[in-house]
């Protein structure tokens, strides 16, 4: 069963992929990473992209930031072609990518140094207002008093919390998360889901989350898009009906489990069948 109910274009539409394809290489070696994909994401939505590896989930994130260009089709962000309207984007990856020569606080403040309109005021406010802002964010993710530490003095889970702060400090309209909790243990991961949900409910950015974890997708997202591979394409797009704030207990209820089961079957069924010799 597939439930492809494409969202209509409204004034709330924030991201729109229209017949986007993306191919790498040329000639015989050409690889289609993304084949004829359509996706609309509303302002303030939390959309999870799930699917087998190599299905182009991360490719969609890069297209939306304009880091790569679509081979065909159009990517619109905030009503215009990507790159035309400068919007504030926050990003977090599986690898926290902290700069080792800066303190955790300075790492978190890095986007303020780069992104207008903050960058013009960075020199004047880095010791007062911006510093306070970084500290209050760090406190919210449970890293109060860790601002002066250097990244190597923190554990993986703490670094990932700091990485979330860095992705959010410049109040991004769009937050792109590429398996940010993928390398963490189960308990840390569940803790960070709660942190993430809280931050999202408070700041309401539009979020695209790439993940392999269906429970994570169910816990965090308002919509889950299932992708298939070769070529990458969205094959299922379903709303997640649970009320917020969601809890871990909720993920053990019958409706939640049957939802993740359905998603799991969808993904497994696309796995290429092993050829028997």
């Amino acid at each position: 069963m597939t439930t492809m109910t494409e969202l209509p274009r409204t004034e709330d539409t924030f991201i729109e992929l229209e017949n986007v394809t993306l191919t790498y290489g040329r000639g015989d070696k050409q690889v289609t990473a993304l084949g004829l994909t359509n996706l609309r994401v509303n302002q303030g939505d939390f959309v999870a992209l799930v699917g087998p590896s190599g299905c182009g989930k991360s490719t969609i994130l890069k297209l939306v930031t304009g880091l790569i260009k679509a081979s065909e089709g159009y990517v619109y962000v905030a009503g215009r072609e990507v790159g035309a309207t400068p919007i504030r984007v926050g990003m977090a990856f599986q690898n926290p990518t902290m700069l080792p020569w800066l303190t955790v606080r300075d790492n978190v403040m890095m986007p303020l140094k780069i992104v207008p309109p903050f960058r013009q005021e960075y020199g004047a406010k880095k010791k007062t207002e911006f510093r306070d802002r970084a500290d209050s964010l760090l406190k919210e993710v449970g890293l109060a008093n860790f601002g002066d530490k250097h990244p190597w003095q923190l554990s993986g889970g703490m670094l990932q919390r700091a990485s979330l702060c860095r992705a959010l400090i410049h109040e991004p309209q769009l937050l792109l998360l590429d398996e940010p909790f993928g390398a963490l243990d189960q308990f840390t991961r569940e803790e960070l889901w709660a942190v993430m949900q809280e931050l999202w409910m408070k700041l309401k950015p539009t979020v695209l989350l790439v993940t392999h974890d269906l429970k994570e997708a169910g816990y965090l997202a308002t919509r889950i898009c299932v992708m298939r591979t070769r070529p990458g394409q969205i094959v299922d797009d379903a709303a997640v009906p649970f009320p917020r704030p969601r809890t871990i207990d909720m993920s053990y209820t019958q409706t939640f489990v049957s939802m993740t089961q359905r998603l799991r079957e969808l993904i497994v069924s696309q796995r290429p069948v092993k050829e028997t010799v």
Binding site: T65, V89, T97, P100, W101, M110, K113, I114, H150
Partner: protein, 257 residues
């Protein structure tokens, strides 16, 4: 005594021991001054000829530092260029390696031809000696910047200059300082080569004249002065390095500071 203090005392004892052994062997085998002078004799020479040697020492130090300064400047510029552009890498690298393989003593006459003998060719020789390690290290540091880091910055719409300034260059600092320690000793080599060939001042020139007079203790005194200058500058840059790039060695003092 703490293990650290003990280690320091031992290394000092062994270094002094090296000179004592040298002295003892000279006595034992009755080595002529013309072949290898004794350390005690070198010290006496340094003491007696000190006032005459001092201006030459300053000259060599000055020449080396000026050449080294230019070398750092050009080295960073070339390193940034090569490390951030594929084309520059492909063009400049073979040229640079080729140039680095030329014995510098062969280049000095050309500099003398262009600028006359004296300080200028010595500065230039010191400079070209120390450029290569700086360029290679800066370029390597920049070229090995993690792509995710750049993605984070590019998603923030950082300009190339922003990325270079905030990510590329700080990341390159440990490579850069490692190269400075090598480069500063090479700069001395360059200065002395040029002074030996074409100058009437500097330690290189003093040693040249002393060896033609068979004043071997003075030649060795010159060597010792060069060695001391080299070690001193190496130590200075080591200190600066550990202050600035403590993060790369994960030093606790750095974390506290």
């Amino acid at each position: 005594m703490s293990p650290q203090a003990r280690r320091k005392v031992w290394s000092a004892v062994l270094i002094v021991g090296f000179f004592v052994l040298w002295e003892a062997l000279c006595w034992l085998f009755n080595v002529s001054d013309i072949i290898v002078p004794k350390p005690s004799q070198i010290i006496v020479t340094l003491w007696q000829r000190g006032p005459a040697l001092w201006p030459h020492t300053l000259q060599t130090l000055y020449t080396t530092l000026v050449g080294f300064g230019f070398g750092i400047f050009i080295g960073i510029a070339l390193g940034v260029l090569i490390g951030s552009s594929r084309l520059a890498y492909d063009v400049a690298y073979p040229l640079l390696v080729g140039f680095a393989s030329i014995p510098k003593v062969a280049v000095v006459p050309i500099f003398v031809l262009w600028f006359g003998s004296g300080t200028v060719p010595a500065v230039l020789t010191a400079m070209i000696m120390c450029i290569f390690p700086i360029v290679v290290n800066v370029a390597t540091g920049l070229a090995t910047t993690e792509p995710e880091l750049e993605d984070v910055m590019r998603a923030l719409r950082a300009t190339k200059l922003d990325i270079l300034w905030n990510v590329g260059l700080p990341r390159t600092m440990p490579f850069f300082f490692a190269s400075l320690k090598v480069a500063v000793t090479l700069a001395f080599v360059g200065t002395v080569i040029s002074e030996t060939v074409a100058s009437n001042r500097g330690i290189g020139n003093v040693m040249m004249i002393a060896s033609s007079n068979f004043d071997v203790p003075l030649v060795f005194a010159g060597l010792i002065i060069l060695a001391i200058l080299g070690v001193a500058l190496y130590a200075v840059f080591s200190l600066i390095e550990s202050r600035i790039t403590g993060w790369a060695h994960r030093k606790d003092e750095f974390a506290m500071g």
